[in-house]
Symmetry: D2
Subunit: 277 residues, 4 copies
Amino acid sequence: MLIRLGYDIAFQNPAPVPIVAMLNVHPSRAQDLREPDQLKLEPNIPLDTYTDSFGNVCARFLAPAGEIRLTNSTLIEDSGQPDAGDPAAPEVPVEDLPAENLRYLLASRYCEVDLLSNTAVELFGEIRSGYQRVQAICNWVNSKVTFGYNFARSTKTALDVYTERLGVCRDFQHLAITFCRCLNIPARYTTGYLGDIGVPVAPYPMDFSAWFEAYLGDRWWTFDARHNRPRIGRVVMAVGRDAADVAITTSFGSSRLTKFTVVTDEVPEARSNSNSA
Amino acid sequence: MLIRLGYDIAFQNPAPVPIVAMLNVHPSRAQDLREPDQLKLEPNIPLDTYTDSFGNVCARFLAPAGEIRLTNSTLIEDSGQPDAGDPAAPEVPVEDLPAENLRYLLASRYCEVDLLSNTAVELFGEIRSGYQRVQAICNWVNSKVTFGYNFARSTKTALDVYTERLGVCRDFQHLAITFCRCLNIPARYTTGYLGDIGVPVAPYPMDFSAWFEAYLGDRWWTFDARHNRPRIGRVVMAVGRDAADVAITTSFGSSRLTKFTVVTDEVPEARSNSNSA
Amino acid sequence: MLIRLGYDIAFQNPAPVPIVAMLNVHPSRAQDLREPDQLKLEPNIPLDTYTDSFGNVCARFLAPAGEIRLTNSTLIEDSGQPDAGDPAAPEVPVEDLPAENLRYLLASRYCEVDLLSNTAVELFGEIRSGYQRVQAICNWVNSKVTFGYNFARSTKTALDVYTERLGVCRDFQHLAITFCRCLNIPARYTTGYLGDIGVPVAPYPMDFSAWFEAYLGDRWWTFDARHNRPRIGRVVMAVGRDAADVAITTSFGSSRLTKFTVVTDEVPEARSNSNSA
Amino acid sequence: MLIRLGYDIAFQNPAPVPIVAMLNVHPSRAQDLREPDQLKLEPNIPLDTYTDSFGNVCARFLAPAGEIRLTNSTLIEDSGQPDAGDPAAPEVPVEDLPAENLRYLLASRYCEVDLLSNTAVELFGEIRSGYQRVQAICNWVNSKVTFGYNFARSTKTALDVYTERLGVCRDFQHLAITFCRCLNIPARYTTGYLGDIGVPVAPYPMDFSAWFEAYLGDRWWTFDARHNRPRIGRVVMAVGRDAADVAITTSFGSSRLTKFTVVTDEVPEARSNSNSA
């Protein structure tokens, strides 16, 4: 399956402002790209690209006063298969985890592991260890939290989600991630493209999405406490401890978002070929 | 100057529990060690050593049920000079910062940059940019927050410190770090040895200490919002975004601290030689 | 001046649910009413009316499953004068305050006096005591907090407003009230009718409004940190420590708001007469 | 049974400071007093006594700079019976509650009903309505929260207790009260004398205590989530929505507690007679 990916984002800045963007497909999917994946800036100012400590591709630039526009269009090949899962995948004892995954057990800005540990044990401590326990966490969060775009707020933490029971996709994932970590299951926040492929079209403008990964057995598995069912066509852009690590864009100063459109469309082979010609 | 470093820490565990310890001198000080720096465990169980994403040396082991004791004694050479400082060191524009320092601008578990940005700008926005602004932050925190061991609490965040104005050394640093990041100055939490060298002996048992570093000009500089004056003999053990990243020990399960002593003593040359013989 | 007051509110209830409503004009304005002020229910179920500890008129009823509609239309005479103010009104020492006003110095659900005391003293402690200090608090809150209906959330406290700097009218008042109490100035939350009389029509549907009162000299004075200028035609419905005390309606169970319209219109004398005939 | 009650409390004030004290036995116990219940001040400054909106006796005075000492010694007759309880007492539908009890259903400073409602329903919603449900709440809180004087902090709320699981007696009651209100059971905070009568002497200095009352059937019943068993000899001093309403003393300015002793001793009849002679 081929998926057209892209975005058209603009900011209005009262003064020059440094911006960090995480708008590239994650290196783990680089081999699937069928067109270059290149963030374009208007005006065409210099761009510094680097890899952060989580392995994400980041772009940094000093946006001038006035408008800056970020665009891209690329094409990726996807298996067309829904998210893999393995009900038999076991939890890994902390002493056997790959050392680089230990950081995904710790508390982070939006995931207060220290504050929700008792609750996690009370809710999920008796459930059999393993993949199905993470699924039970997703089921709980999915059934208890009400989705609504008007519930979005940049400061909302997992504890807020637990008490308010309202949120957008990032909030669902933050709470589920926190519960996983409370049970010593490494969990990391993931942001990327997720189109309405194989599902009814959602009544919202296309946006980037957030889901999470839990480490079980010998690999990371995809979970999504918001949609809570296997989906086709996820394309990872960035992973981190929580949304603070993988903001799509971070402006280090005053900046006003004036345009935001995202494209994530399945493309018939023929059309995609001509597009990329 | 030679400084004797060491600790004797014990836990009582009702069941086997994985523990991660950050009890080694930081690699940046390895060349100053005059004796091996080796965490010893009793019982003598296997130890897995690795380096985390911040460059800290970590040790991981599965503590058995019953008591586990962690000890060490080592000797380090120190310049004997107080913390370096440079009132002329400038703040670095975000677009010019070394990429690996950008993570020290983000919000983290105990440093809610998003919640304190307006306050930081109101308090320190008019102060001239540079080293002296970080010093002004330390002065403010030091004069506004009251120190007391009974004010310690593992869940306390920078916002809590801002509202309660009570804390231990980690709390002072968390608030100062947060204010720095709010102003786009990279700041990182540092934990290590800090003895009463060159100052009156404090009326508390020796403990590890926490301070922080801010990136100005072309390097990290030491600041300490708790003591707020240059000190002699700091020995870094670990750096991270905040205390969540650099806990001296983290037990992933039930564990009770039963002993905790720390040694940080200046040693006359002669005596140190005989000790290390 | 005559003002037509009224509302038309409906709830859909999956099961019978007790509701408390504070939908009457406050007794302090009873002598100004030119028509009866009577909450009507459809279906016409029994209504228990009582006065709460703050002197507000409350109505309590057991709403049946299905729809319940609350309506009223009344007419009130108003001076047509803008809010009174007296720059010379002094703060009253705590020991001289009327005893019944002391409760308006305490912390309440949405006004964390204990958490914002230091900030209040730092911001307003040097300002000369008296009416003008309360005005300075309103000016600060009004200039620092951005208004938006999408920023409303029922759990938002004064500290949240202080950190997030976003809110609706109740949020502006909660922060200002808290600062007043921190300085030992009694302040109480007020809810009522406030039409667009003498001001440009606001680009929002008419709603009830919130403002606050501070006790200075020998009386309560009206302040409004949201609009921050004298207004004509405020009609008080209820006063309390904060929004928790004076919710327009409180449902003690599941209940969905399906209709909400408020009328607050200046009425020409002739027309009002014929209306009330 | 006769119980000697008393206290000896002192403050050091850098400047004159108004103080409100709630140091009298509650009017509901006035008929049991066998000696006058009179707060004495040294120096002997004027005292203004009033009753607050909850029916508590309050004393207000302007403490001079320097030391102020508050003392009292009185004698009360007590039934000597443990707290009454009735497992059959039913919950009262909100529409049938005495109107003056409705305020004990609302959120207050330390009891965030809005934030813990879902949790309360999840934990206790399936338990049969009535006295036993309140007892189940006490059992839960008592078993989940660890007591320790070093866990006291004046800003701690019910949600903090729920997440931290550490506290002093007021914290236990705040969480239990909040859960009750979440289930539409009126609950109020109570402070008073509680000696070690009929129980082993506690290894702490005598202090005032806090418990709570829930309204079931046709009366208020005593519950105590901290001790969680019927006790002999409770003497109520004040009731309110939470600790913010019934602080033993509130200083409206800088004031340092320098002495704090409380007496609550069962007294043999003969000795008590001679004492009061």
